[in-house]
């Protein structure tokens, strides 16, 4: 019968329409703007609309989510920042769009290069968020961030210096707990044979 296929199709849209209504009502006022509501919309069993109402709601980020890199520093007893970076240059070499510039520090006494960066600049306009710098850094000194809200009024702001790139290790432990734990274990294991 002509028209039957069309009606069958329309039945699907109608079902969807009601499903959306019931799903939204199941959680009631908790459907939007609550963690529970957002989580329910990420579940494979969800039906109906699963739009996340950005910016009022923020999407859930998995641990591996990556956005432009940042530099890790530890705070020593004097309260100074100690960057983990040794200016070895692997990240600058592996970077596909070549958006990392590193100036290695020279020891003023000897004139020889010392394993610290004097300047570390990333042009985040060029960065393609591939994550190679974090992946191949042997010192866990550069990691990919979770902060994706980087808009600014001027392009000059997107050439980011070492000061702006630095973030404490605690922050890293917070955004990537599993990775942090794994890496700390590996570091501890590495240190142990040397001590014994």
């Amino acid at each position: 019968m002509i028209g039957f296929g069309l009606i069958k199709g329309l039945a699907v849209t109608l079902k969807r329409f009601f499903q959306t209504y019931f799903v939204t009502n199941k959680l009631g006022s908790k459907h939007y703007y609550t963690e529970e509501g957002i989580e329910s919309r990420y579940d494979p069993s969800t039906e109906g609309i699963f739009t996340v109402q950005y910016p009022e709601e923020k999407p859930m980020l998995p641990e591996e989510f990556r956005f432009v890199p940042f530099l890790l520093y530890e705070v020593n007893e004097q309260g100074d920042k100690e960057f983990r970076c040794t200016a070895c240059g692997i990240c600058a070499k592996v970077c596909p769009p070549q958006c990392i510039w590193i100036k290695r520090m020279t020891d003023p006494a000897t004139g020889r290069p010392s394993p610290h960066p004097e300047e570390f600049t990333i042009d985040i306009d060029i960065c393609m968020n591939c994550g190679y710098c974090a992946e191949y850094c042997p010192f866990d000194a550069i990691k990919m961030d979770h902060d994706y809200e980087l808009s600014s009024y001027s392009r000059e702001n997107s050439v980011v210096s070492m000061e702006q790139l630095g973030k404490p290790v605690d922050y890293y432990a917070k955004i990537r707990p599993d990775n942090y734990r794994r890496e700390e274990e590996a570091r501890a294991a590495k240190k142990q044979p040397a001590a014994s």
Binding site: K8, G9, F50, E64, F65, I90, C95, K103
Partner: protein, 579 residues
């Protein structure tokens, strides 16, 4: 597969034939035959007629600068399956002329135009040898090794200015039009006006008009800015009334010389760039590139990595096909309801990619000899519930929703028909080829990775119209679900990389052509290494680009509205077409 065809005594075998008309390649790491330029058309005539090499997969060139030669490289296959036969023509770099093979393989048409455009090889006898990706009047041929782009810094990455004395300099502050930009002799940028497209319009000019009736043909531009073209793509159609009598695609609006960038990059640095080819199916692109380079390096990834790769590739296929079907309905005028239904499923698949690879679209997940990281256990659970519950249900729902719809049928059946012979001859691949009744799927015809041990059917339909392409995509999604179920059952534990991850891989000199069955068709990567950290040649045989060769054929005699549908059924992605 076991019983090889052997020629009866007295009949010349293919190796003998090739030995009589060319010489075997002797360089270390290379394979195939070198054929003199004047013989190449005859050789292909024979190969396609007598030996069944009826499918030209890739046609490209390699610049041997500073040596004074250029090589034109052909990869041909049999449409019944099997490995490649590689032929090369070596020509002089100053005035390279090669006979065109478009008469034997229509699929060479765009690829030869591309080689002319980017390498400056003239193909004698080509029906329409204009530039294809760049504009007429562009100076130079960019893929030649001595051509330098604006912002040129060094021959190869990593650039020395980045470390150890890196001083950031925003590109804004550099002048792009410096002494590295070449202009034609009598060209002043200030007085320049874009050339008219006389060559194109002449080509489409009408024949003698219908007697007695004062009708004329109308040249109509669709695009480049039009929602139906799926990006910046232009179709110039000559119409008689509402019927299309000639249609030429105009491409290159998104051209960024991906291959030149690739040759400046190191091998590993290329991986994230392949994501940006067909940005809907980045995992598949990663796969193709990894397969090609691994062939060259002679390594195989461990079991678990293979399973993870296939899992990702098949999830990508579902995401791409479901979107193609949804957006086909957009082109039919069912504005956004079906495509948003399909986008929902894609969202959930992208969530899996995000949790595993770190990014939704630009995954950059594959490495040479494995994958970047293992899949987290909770994500694997999510894949489980997607594969066993949600995706089959939703594919069925899409089926119920659209397949029987009379409007869909009226608009798509008998539209854009391409026969099996035409499809093979035009080098069309993927769902479009299989909708024409050719059971050709690289996963079966020339298996890679672990596809040999997975059970699935190669879906074919017989009519070769838009509706069949839709059906093939729908069925292929079901087959992908079937593959995914097996993959989830069989996935072993173990390492995900062979050897230690290295930031600079050692690739021995040689060449390799790796191809995978991408969702859009056969995705091939031709990589040549000369032992340096950067590839000497990196070529992408992109399915979207080659499939477009058949667009005119499909559109002839159809209405303008059908051209939109046909383009939608080809499922092109401009990032891959223009490269």
């Amino acid at each position: 597969m076991s019983d090889e065809f052997t020629a009866p005594a007295g009949v010349q075998g293919e190796a003998e034939y090739l030995a009589s008309s060319g010489t075997a390649e002797t360089r270390q790491g290379y394979s195939g035959w070198i054929v003199p330029a004047e013989k190449i058309a005859d050789v292909f005539e024979q190969l396609s007629q007598r030996f069944g090499y009826d499918f030209l997969s890739s046609l490209t060139a390699v610049d041997n600068f500073p040596e004074a030669t250029l090589e034109v490289v052909y990869h041909v296959f049999k449409s019944i399956g099997g490995g490649p036969l590689e032929l090369k023509v070596v020509v002089d770099r100053e005035s390279p002329i090669v006979p065109s093979v478009t008469k034997i393989y229509k699929g060479a048409e765009f690829q030869e135009r591309e080689v002319w455009d980017l390498f400056g090889v003239k193909f004698s006898g080509h029906p329409d040898l204009r530039r294809i990706l760049l504009w007429e009047g562009f100076e130079g041929h960019p893929l030649r090794k001595d051509w330098k782009e604006p912002f040129y810094e060094e021959e190869a990455k990593p650039f020395k200015s980045r470390w150890p004395d890196g001083k950031a300099e925003p590109n804004e502050s550099k002048n792009p039009f410096n002494d590295n930009v070449q202009y034609p002799p009598d060209f002043t940028p200030k007085n320049w006006t874009p050339p008219t497209e006389e060559a194109l319009i002449d080509l489409m000019q009408p024949e003698a008009e219908t007697e007695g009736l004062e009708t004329g043909q109308l040249i109509l531009n669709l695009g480049p800015q039009h929602p139906s073209t799926h990006g910046v793509f232009r179709m110039v159609a000559a119409t008689e009334g509402e019927a299309i009598v000639s249609l030429k695609p105009v491409l290159g609006y998104l051209h960024r010389n991906h291959e030149k960038i690739g040759e400046r990059n190191t091998f590993l640095q290329n991986m994230p760039y392949t994501d940006r080819l067909d940005y809907i199916t980045s995992m598949s692109n990663n796969f193709g590139y990894a397969v090609a380079v691994e062939k060259l390096m002679g390594i195989t990834p461990p079991e678990r990595a293979e399973y993870l790769r296939v899992m990702m590739a098949e999830l990508t296929r579902i995401a791409s096909h479901i979107m193609a079907n949804g957006f086909l309905l957009n082109d039919l005028g069912a504005y956004f309801t079906p495509s948003l239904y399909s986008l929902e499923e894609r969202e959930l698949i992208l969530d899996v990619f995000e949790a595993t690879a770190g990014s939704r679209m630009m995954c950059n997940y594959f490495r040479f000899g494995g994958v970047a990281r293992d899949i987290p256990p909770e994500t694997l659970k999510k894949v489980h519930s997607l594969v066993h519950d949600r995706l089959p249900r939703k594919i069925d729902e899409l089926d119920r929703y659209l397949t029987d719809s009379e409007i869909v049928k009226v608009r798509t059946q008998c539209v854009g028909v391409v026969t099996d012979e035409q499809a093979i001859n035009t080098s069309i691949t993927g769902p479009v080829l299989r909708a024409s009744g050719v059971p050709y799927d690289v996963r079966r015809a020339d298996p890679y990775s672990i596809y040999e041990r997975l059970e699935f059917d190669v879906i074919t339909k017989m009519h070769g119209d838009v509706y069949d392409r839709y059906l093939v995509r729908l069925e292929e999604m079901r087959q992908s679900v079937r593959i995914l179920k097996q993959v989830l059952d069989q996935m072993p534990d173990g390492p995900i990389m062979t050897g230690r991850p290295q930031y600079q891989v050692r690739v021995p000199a040689g060449e390799a052509y790796g191809r995978v069955e991408g969702p859009k068709g056969e995705l091939g990567f031709y990589v040549v290494s000369d032992g340096k950290p950067n590839p000497k040649r990196y070529h992408v045989r992109s399915p979207s680009f080659v499939n477009l060769t058949g667009l005119e054929q499909m559109c002839l005699g159809m209405k303008i509205a059908d051209a939109v549908t046909i383009l939608g059924s080809l499922d092109i992605v401009l990032g891959e077409v223009d490269r």
